[in-house]
Symmetry: C2
Subunit: 247 residues, 2 copies
């Protein structure tokens, strides 16, 4: 319900039950006894300062992350500079795909002060391989993640006009905020316009101008970093893909 992104004063942690990793952090029934492996696996709410690097492309990937509060961006080295690969918001996972990879394929930087839950890959894999119930839950988590990535890339990929690209980007964020229990019509763009431009393969000037055009066409309202979507169905119709269904 709460539509706040995060103020510096009060890091509103996302509730554990909207976190994509919650199945892993819940107690497990084994032969009539209930075990909670969370303590063994998870280092909860580790703090990173705005701008700080969380991990670096090429580093040994020992940890998976879940965002408890704040947001971050993922970047990869391309032709000597950094390209923005994606963003992550509270409740989402970072690098779950590294489960079977040795190194991080990209770097992660905090877009604001953030709190992350860190999960040791090795421990997680160990426990999963011993407790089928955990294995099954992990399966659900990874599988869900696969679905989400596929939906996102369906939305973001293949748009012809830049205006549609940007609209799709906003709509994708809306959908993801909804999935994390926030408002999908009112949220904050924590990244810079340059980050958005870089992510979408546009120039920052184009991003600025087209955000303004979308506003002129009443598809969004923009005030600095805050976005308001007057009618999410109008926006979905403009993009042509409906992820957010009328409830």
């Amino acid at each position: 319900m709460a539509c706040s992104g995060s103020n510096k004063e009060e890091p509103k942690y996302v509730a554990c039950d909207v976190c994509r990793l919650s199945p892993i952090c819940s107690p497990v029934d084994v032969g009539g006894h209930t075990y909670d492996f969370t303590g063994k696996m998870v280092n909860r709410r580790h703090y990173f300062k705005k701008g700080e690097m969380i991990f670096k492309q090429g580093e040994q990937a020992r940890l998976i992350f879940a965002i408890s509060a704040g947001s971050l961006k993922l970047t990869a080295d391309v032709k000597g500079s950094k390209r923005v690969i994606d963003f992550r918001i509270p409740g989402e996972l970072v690098d779950i795909c590294s489960l079977n990879e040795g190194v991080y394929n990209y770097s992660a930087h905090a877009l604001e002060d953030i709190y992350l839950c860190e999960i040791g890959k090795e421990t997680l894999n160990d426990i999963a391989s011993q407790i089928p119930e955990v294995q099954g839950r992990l399966m659900k988590v990874v599988s869900q993640e696969l679905t989400n990535i596929q939906k996102s890339s369906m939305l973001l990929h293949g748009n012809v006009s830049s205006e549609e690209k940007i609209a799709a980007f906003i709509l994708n964020l809306a959908w993801r905020y909804l999935n994390s229990g926030y408002s999908c019509t009112e949220f904050k763009l924590n990244m810079t316009r340059t980050d958005i431009a870089d992510f979408l393969g546009l120039s920052k000037e184009t991003v600025i101008r087209l955000l303004k055009k979308l506003q002129k066409n009443h598809l969004i309202q923009i005030d600095g970093k805050r976005v308001h979507i007057p009618d999410i169905n109008d926006l979905q119709q403009f993009v042509g893909i409906e992820l957010i269904l009328p409830s």
Copy 2:
């Protein structure tokens, strides 16, 4: 090694051991006995004619597919017409992400005569939930798929110029052919130029002109549907991301 795509006469099936699903199709050890569930789950090498629809967006998703021979395209309805979402080549999986979804999120059409292995989702899930070893293998499959999708989208997303987009598209195919045991420097583009254009969000004329430009710059050689990559490292350098490592 074989670089052939597929001629109509001789449908060269991909070897099972390069299929992404092979862990599922291999016998399992349970309490000292070896079981092979393949027969229960998999309907092998089901034939579809060129142009035929394999499944339709919105349909109940009961099956997962692995391509044994041939290639296909995935499309989704966007604003009244069909947008090309992705392509699949031999050895690859189709819609593994529907494991936890009720309906197909896109349609699939054969780009040429193809043979598919069909796996019943329900049976697979049943067996996986009963046999931890199968669950673990399924986990590996899904996890690998997640990594692949992420790498692909890293490559394809965020390119500024259309020339880079097309180069990235070719490079992505090269990488995938390599993963399926084919040559990565010599393969066939089974889709039409219009399909490529639609997939990349470009016009077909631009695709044609830029393919020609890439050829003029000696990054690729194109002859109708056949592609040859003289130096894969040059192409990777042009795109700026190196998926294919020197062996």
